[in-house]
């Protein structure tokens, strides 16, 4: 049993939710990191630009030279990233450093007049720089003066981490909530299955009646299948029981008779009487074997009726097959076929139907009067497979009990044949109709119409 156990549903849901959260977490984290980095970069780039513009604004021309009256506000602005090192440099039109550190890297390209942001080293650490150009056109001084200012990235990284961390905290909280809800949902979804399991466990071992429990739509088919399965089991068990019962019931008398006659024959000394006795034993044995055939047929038919696949068949083919099968039987030539011109299609198992029809026809041959007609018809749209004869049919009292299993009033198991026909009709969703007509007696299988 242990081998049959696969992953529990809870584990599957947990795995799925975990995978979603894990993948989502990676995606969210990378997005949050990228976003945080972007946001931090923009925020601190603005700070850098503000400081650089501040410095650029403080440049004045005195005695034909650019003079930077470095504003404290620029440094205070940069000090908003309190842990970061700073490097700045102001260069004149010829590229010489006016003030600041020589080793501040120059911007990668010089196009346009707008500020240029770029990454560059600040000592051993990576840094971010901005270059702002201010153009002078004085009589004594003309040309661009460039302010380069940069700082290390500690504050940016801290801010990016903060942003990503916040996003991750939200995700973790959401993940916990989702996990909790998934767990609760799984529990609630599995509860009907548990109820079903308990209902099955509580059941009496021989109770195969359908289970009636309110089930969610998703599980209802399973319960339907289970009930169908149990129904088949029930029918098959009943069939087996019936077979055994029939066998016991129906075989006991003929076998006892054969035994008694065989004993008589053993004790008989007169050869002529013994021959007669032997002939009777033989006759009874043949009857017995026919009875056995019927019983086995019936068991087979009942088994088939539950298991054989249904297909669209023309009842006229069924009638023809019955006709051909009975042609060689004693008196079979007396049967006449009565078929309509068009097909009469039903959904069913051809073999079962042929068997049922043969039984009806054999009954008519055995007990009815000529003319015997085997045919197919539609009565108010309902397909019929019928066997009619010219006789009055069985007496009403007998008719009442016909079709039941033990109604073997006729020798040779005619009642059994009717029982088979009834079983087949019922397993096809139809019925066995027995009744007198104005011109005789009719036994007919009325079957539901094939749908499309």
């Amino acid at each position: 049993m242990a081998k049959m156990r696969s992953w529990s549903l809870k584990a599957r849901v947990a795995l799925a939710v975990g995978a979603v959260l894990g993948l989502g977490g990676i995606v969210v984290l990378s997005v949050a990191l990228a976003y945080g980095r972007q946001a931090a970069r923009e925020a601190y780039d603005r700070l850098l630009l503000g400081a650089a513009s501040d410095i650029a604004a403080s440049i004045s021309i005195r005695d034909g030279a650019a003079l930077v009256d470095m504003p404290a506000s620029a440094f205070q602005m940069l000090a908003l990233a309190p842990e970061d090192r700073i490097r700045y440099r102001v260069t004149g039109p010829d590229g010489t450093t006016l003030t600041g550190a020589e080793d501040a890297p120059a911007p990668p390209r010089q196009e346009g007049t707008g500020p240029v942001f770029y990454d560059g080293a600040l000592g051993a650490e990576p840094g971010r720089y901005v270059a702002v150009t201010r153009r002078f056109a004085e009589r004594s001084f003309s040309g661009p003066v460039r302010v380069i200012i940069g700082q290390t990235l500690r504050a940016r990284q801290a801010l990016a981490r903060d942003i990503a961390g916040g996003a991750l905290a939200v995700l973790a909280t959401a993940g916990l909530a989702i996990g909790l809800f998934a767990w609760l949902a799984t529990l609630s979804a599995l509860r009907p299955l548990q109820r079903l399991g308990q209902a099955l466990a509580r059941r009496d071992p021989v109770d195969l009646t359908p289970i009636t429990l309110p089930m969610p739509r998703e599980i209802a088919p399973m319960l339907g299948a289970l009930n169908g399965f149990m129904g088949r089991l029930d029918r098959q068990a009943a069939a087996s029981r019936n077979l055994i019962g029939d066998a016991a019931h129906q075989l006991r008398t003929p076998v006892a008779a054969i035994r008694a006659q065989a004993q008589d024959a053993q004790e008989e000394t007169d050869p002529a009487r013994r021959d007669r006795l032997l002939a009777r034993i033989h006759e009874r044995s043949v009857g017995l074997s026919r009875l056995l055939d019927r019983m086995l047929d019936r068991a087979m038919i009942i088994h088939r009726s539950d298991t054989a696949p249904r297909s669209a068949i023309d009842l006229r083919d069924v009638a023809l097959e019955i006709y051909e099968a009975l042609e060689d039987a004693p008196g079979g030539a007396a049967i006449r076929l009565d078929l309509p011109p068009g097909p009469v299609v039903v959904r069913g198992d051809a073999l079962s139907l042929v068997e049922a029809g043969k039984n009806l026809a054999a009954n008519a041959l055995a007990h009815g009067r000529a003319p015997i007609r085997l045919g197919v018809a539609r009565e108010e749209g309902t397909p019929l497979l019928f066997v009619r004869d010219g006789g009055p049919g069985p007496a009403p009292a007998i008719l009442e009990g016909l079709g039941a299993r033990f109604a073997s009033h006729a020798p040779g198991g005619a009642g059994l044949g009717l029982a088979i026909a009834r079983e087949v009709a019922q397993s096809h969703g139809g019925a066995l109709r027995l009744g007198p007509r104005e011109d005789g007696f009719e036994a007919a299988l009325s079957l539901p119409r094939a749908v499309a």
Binding site: L67, V68, D69, M70, A72, F75, Q76, L78, A79, P82, E83, D84, R85, I86, R87, V90, T97, L98, T99, G100, A101, E102, D103, L122, G123, A124, E125
Partner: protein
């Protein structure tokens, strides 16, 4: 390089001689030697170092006393060359220390003690303010009547205003071209309030004297050559005022600049572990007691133990010179040139007048 040129200038103005004084502390047999370079007088900081070594028998401290500009130049070149030199540097020229840290010449260290420092006194976990020394005004008690003692910069301005003022020509302050500390104080003043502009102008009109070095200025006040000295480092003034009843010390009431000598561990330090121990010691309660005894930490809050005339200087009036990149502006070539030019307007003949 501008900075290199600056350093060269500084080295030329300062005596080219290397360290001014050297002394070793601790046992000869010690296995480890910590090389400490500082601008602080060995006599002042020495007892603190001795206290530090009391519980560390295996450690020896080689104390080198340097002028601030020479020390700055040496550390910058050590850093550029990746040369192991000092294990710990303590300088009163905190703008130079900020520049060294900004150039990536320092090694970070973080402990519970450094983490407890207020923001203005720590930068990047690489630079720590270890002392608290107010910039004070020193006056001569004999020559300045109590009613005239300046309690604030405004008082000083008022004293200098009358054309017949006895204070004319008898107010002294540091010459910023010869004293790094004087430059730092003057620069911090200029950043702090517009009062400084008026003060400079007033100094210029009244013929105030700019001269070098704490000791000389305080001597001048004690001897009566100067009546008031402005922006003198409180630690030196208080040491002298303790022994010399002629000296009075005032923490200005409008605001009081407070200098914290900055300590850093160079990135090239050979004994960083011992250096971090010394930093932690200086910042620890025991180290602070020792620094207070050396008057390197002046508690402005309770004046009764010192000769400092507080006039109720509350903490809100204290302006600590914050260790941070904003101090870099003090080293900017153009800014320095502008500032010196402004200074020169007020003290046109300082160089010649200084004795």
């Amino acid at each position: 390089m501008i900075r290199a040129a600056l350093i060269a200038c500084a080295l030329m103005t300062a005596p080219v001689a290397a360290q001014e004084l050297v002394r070793d502390f601790g046992p000869e047999s010690a296995t480890e030697t910590l090389r400490l370079r500082s601008t602080t007088d060995i006599a002042v900081l020495g007892p603190v170092i001795e206290r530090f070594l009391e519980s560390r028998p295996g450690l020896r401290v080689a104390y080198e006393q340097w002028g601030s500009n020479a020390l700055y130049g040496l550390q910058a070149s050590d850093c550029a060359a990746g040369r192991a030199g000092a294990d710990l540097v303590i300088s009163s020229a905190v703008h130079q220390m900020v520049d060294l840290v900004n150039e990536g010449c320092a090694r970070p260290h973080r402990s519970a003690i450094t983490a407890a420092l207020p923001d203005p006194l720590v930068w990047r976990d690489e630079l720590w303010g270890v002392t608290r020394e107010p910039a004070v005004m020193v006056y001569n008690r004999d020559l300045v009547p109590p009613a005239q003692v300046p309690r604030s910069r405004f008082d000083l301005l008022d004293l200098l205003r009358p054309t017949e003022s006895p204070f004319r020509g008898r107010v002294a302050t540091y010459d910023i071209e010869r004293s790094g500390l004087g430059y730092l104080f003057a620069f911090a003043d200029s950043m702090e309030a517009t009062t400084f502009g008026g003060l400079m102008e007033s100094f210029g009109r009244s013929g105030a004297v700019a001269t070098c070095c704490s000791a000389e200025i305080i001597d001048g006040v004690a001897e009566g050559r100067y009546l008031v000295a402005y922006n003198v480092l409180g630690s030196y003034a208080l040491v002298r005022a303790r022994r010399d009843p002629r000296l009075g010390v005032v923490a200005p009431l409008d605001y009081t600049l407070v200098l914290s000598r900055a300590a850093m561990i160079p990135s090239t330090a050979g004994q960083p572990r011992a250096a971090t121990q010394l930093v932690d010691f200086l910042l620890s309660p025991g180290g602070r007691v020792a620094l207070e005894q050396a008057l390197l930490i002046v508690r402005l809050e309770d004046g009764d133990s010192t000769a400092l005339d507080l006039g109720g200087a509350a903490e809100t009036l204290q302006r600590p010179i914050a260790l941070g990149p904003a101090l870099l502006i003090a080293l900017d070539a153009h800014k320095q040139a502008l500032f010196r030019a402004r200074w020169r307007d007020a003290f046109p003949e300082t160089g010649g007048a200084a004795p």
